[in-house]
Symmetry: C2
Subunit: 116 residues, 2 copies
Amino acid sequence: MTDSQLRLLKGTFDVLILKTLSWGPAHGYAISRWLRECSDHELRIEEGALYPALRRLEERDWIESEWRTAESGREARVYSLTRAGQRALQQEVSAWRRYIKVFTRVLESRPEESLS
Amino acid sequence: MTDSQLRLLKGTFDVLILKTLSWGPAHGYAISRWLRECSDHELRIEEGALYPALRRLEERDWIESEWRTAESGREARVYSLTRAGQRALQQEVSAWRRYIKVFTRVLESRPEESLS
DNA sequence: GCGTGATACTATAGAGTCTTAGGTATGCCC
DNA sequence: GGGCATACCTAAGACTCTATAGTATCACGC
């Protein structure tokens, strides 16, 4: 698949995680809770998917992490967006908009338009 | 994941294939060509993904196939949508609309709205 | 002090999907 | 006969998500 073509729907969560972190640093558990609430409980990140995704994003240097002790006294690994991550977020979001546009156009197409 | 939650983005092609077949029966090669053209060459189904997907859909009884000889004399396996496939297409399309809506809402959200 | 529930992270097995890369074969045109 | 588009199929491998289990801390009620 060349650059002129859209990347397919893998790593959906990645953009959502980046978006969540654009609101400010957060630890894994908070990310999944925010996403669930922000989507009116329609989206849910399983923990088995969340932590591998966080490691994946960190390997790409889109996020960085640090162990911190919260006011509660609990330890947690807090993630934050890097500069590269901010750029990546913008690119991912526009790629997604583009994909959704094309996808929707196909789904709404009528036979007359295609069987020319 | 319960029914009230959206299925995630796997099997993206499935809906697109069903949609293509809703225009009328077609063989595999034509499906991939139509999709490419209908999306202004932005979507492409690789053959390695197409034929497994067609078998998958046939196993679910959403499509059925038949070997036919075209006017050209070439043999081809022609797929068509079943009744169950038509129903599935409608359901899939509305599930996708719902997913895209939620997904877009999250991607367009601002910190103020979420960090209440 | 002890159970319970929410918080917080980690690891693994398994399934499913896409990419990449190859293969076979036919019809058409020169 | 050679090259090209058409038409189909398969396998290896990578990647992502699900399901499940495990560890540990803190707050709360009793």
